[in-house]
Symmetry: C2
Subunit: 275 residues, 2 copies
């Protein structure tokens, strides 16, 4: 099987898009006709996918939104639906796992075998042996939190270790150690554009998952200019709420398509042309 | 409702025990009669609980062991069974969540509402706003990873920030900020006994969840002496595999009881007497 990075490159090219749509279903914001159905989360996701799959490189279901309401089956159906109808589009399971090795093995099984995701997010706080069981899946992507987009993200991540800030240490470990199989990526939020440029300088062409545009307020142009590789790729720019809830009426899927198109255009405007 | 800390104190006293049994079901290690049943994970857990509930202060189901095999229903049944048959024994859901605020809210709902756990483990890498949605449940315990027991735990956690190592920064944040409602605890592994003493000095009487005895090799006596409070409590000493799989035959529940008794005795031998 091809590697995640190769499949991601193909997806970037096929849809000329660095957009990753976060599938964070909030049933209380669904239009009435969807909310009344038997599998509302899956039906909502399917409508969003049908409306946007030719405009994105990846979908990113956020685990908590399914786990909080016991909708693991609808999460599985969503991923299965994406893989069946749009096999080129990649699926990032946003689970942010981090646990000791023997437990991490089970989490890797969950993400890659049970749900069949192409990539998963993980937390580096427990170090190499907590990441290794994920990294061992050579054809999957392992996306390590580095500098997150939330307001408290800097409390630990910006702490100055002897030679570098904590998130820079994480970026260096990713580049020098965790990427031995070429399947490691990092999360760097668009709300920290300067850090995005620093991380890019540390990790070569390693792809970065960039949340924080849209509802969280990060600037798209700055994120692209600071985060892209020389070939104008290297990014998955993730937006969730600004796309999913662009309209809360029955026209939500059309509104999501328009918002995705507009984000793709805004991103492409700032991309280096050699791609 | 009483606070988690009060309920934990009551449980320490009722069973004269600091033992927390980790419920990490590994179906491949179940005795044949259990493995052949319709809900093997729940049946295994029930047998362990029936055999040990008068000897422990808490149970700690480890989420990955359920999620990897799609056994969320058996996790829910296990917690419901503990609360119904042994209401004094506390349930710590070991999920190590860490995500931005709006997502953390859903994870808190999962742990405290969907599963009804008394406490949950969380990861501090994303900072205060990722913990706050958990801490807002004033009657629940929020157990923050500080110095973990695994081999790679020190890679980030021992990094020297300007004034203190990262895990010490976490301990200070816990004591000074995250414990404003008196419901914050920390994880410090028994494999790092010196760090256990340091953290105890930083956080006063805050209870510590201590994994790493048993299969991971941490010394019980050192952990108790370095981690306990003046009253000989302040600890949940967690053991999973050494208890659950003390025997792999049909006598597994009896063997688990014997191993739990022996761990309780070993712990109590080293506890300060004023309790």
């Amino acid at each position: 099987m091809s590697t995640f990075i190769q499949r991601l490159k193909d997806a970037w090219k096929a849809n000329d898009s660095l957009v990753c749509v976060g599938l964070d279903p909030e049933p209380e914001r669904f239009p009435r006709a969807i909310a009344a159905g038997r599998a509302p989360i899956f039906e909502f996701n399917r409508a969003i996918i049908d409306a946007t799959a030719d405009l994105v490189c990846a979908y990113k279901p956020q685990f908590a939104h399914y786990a909080a309401v016991g909708a693991e089956d609808q999460l599985a159906r969503t991923i299965e639906y994406i893989k069946r109808t749009h096999p080129a589009v990649q699926v990032v399971l946003d689970v942010k796992r981090g646990d000791i090795g023997s437990t991490a093995e089970r989490y890797a099984t969950e993400a890659f075998v049970r749900y069949g995701a192409d990539a998963a997010t993980v937390n580096p706080y427990l170090g190499t042996d907590s990441l290794e069981p994920f990294l061992r899946y050579e054809d999957k992507g392992v996306i390590v939190l580095c500098r997150t987009s939330n307001s408290g993200g800097g409390e630990l991540q910006e702490l100055m270790a002897p030679d570098a800030k904590l998130y820079q240490v994480v970026a260096k470990l990713a580049a020098l150690r965790w990427n031995a199989r070429g399947n490691c990526l990092l999360v760097v939020g668009a709300t920290n554009p300067a850090e995005l440029a620093e991380v890019r300088a540390l990790v070569g062409d390693m792809p970065l998952l960039v949340p924080g545009v849209g509802a969280q307020g990060g600037d798209v142009g700055q994120a692209v200019r600071n985060g892209q590789t020389a070939s104008g790729t290297g990014l998955l720019i993730s937006s969730s709420r600004a796309i999913l809830y662009a309209s809360r009426g029955e026209d939500f899927a059309g509104a999501a398509r328009a918002a995705t198109l507009s984000l793709r255009e805004e991103i492409n405007k700032h991309r280096a042309r050699a791609r």
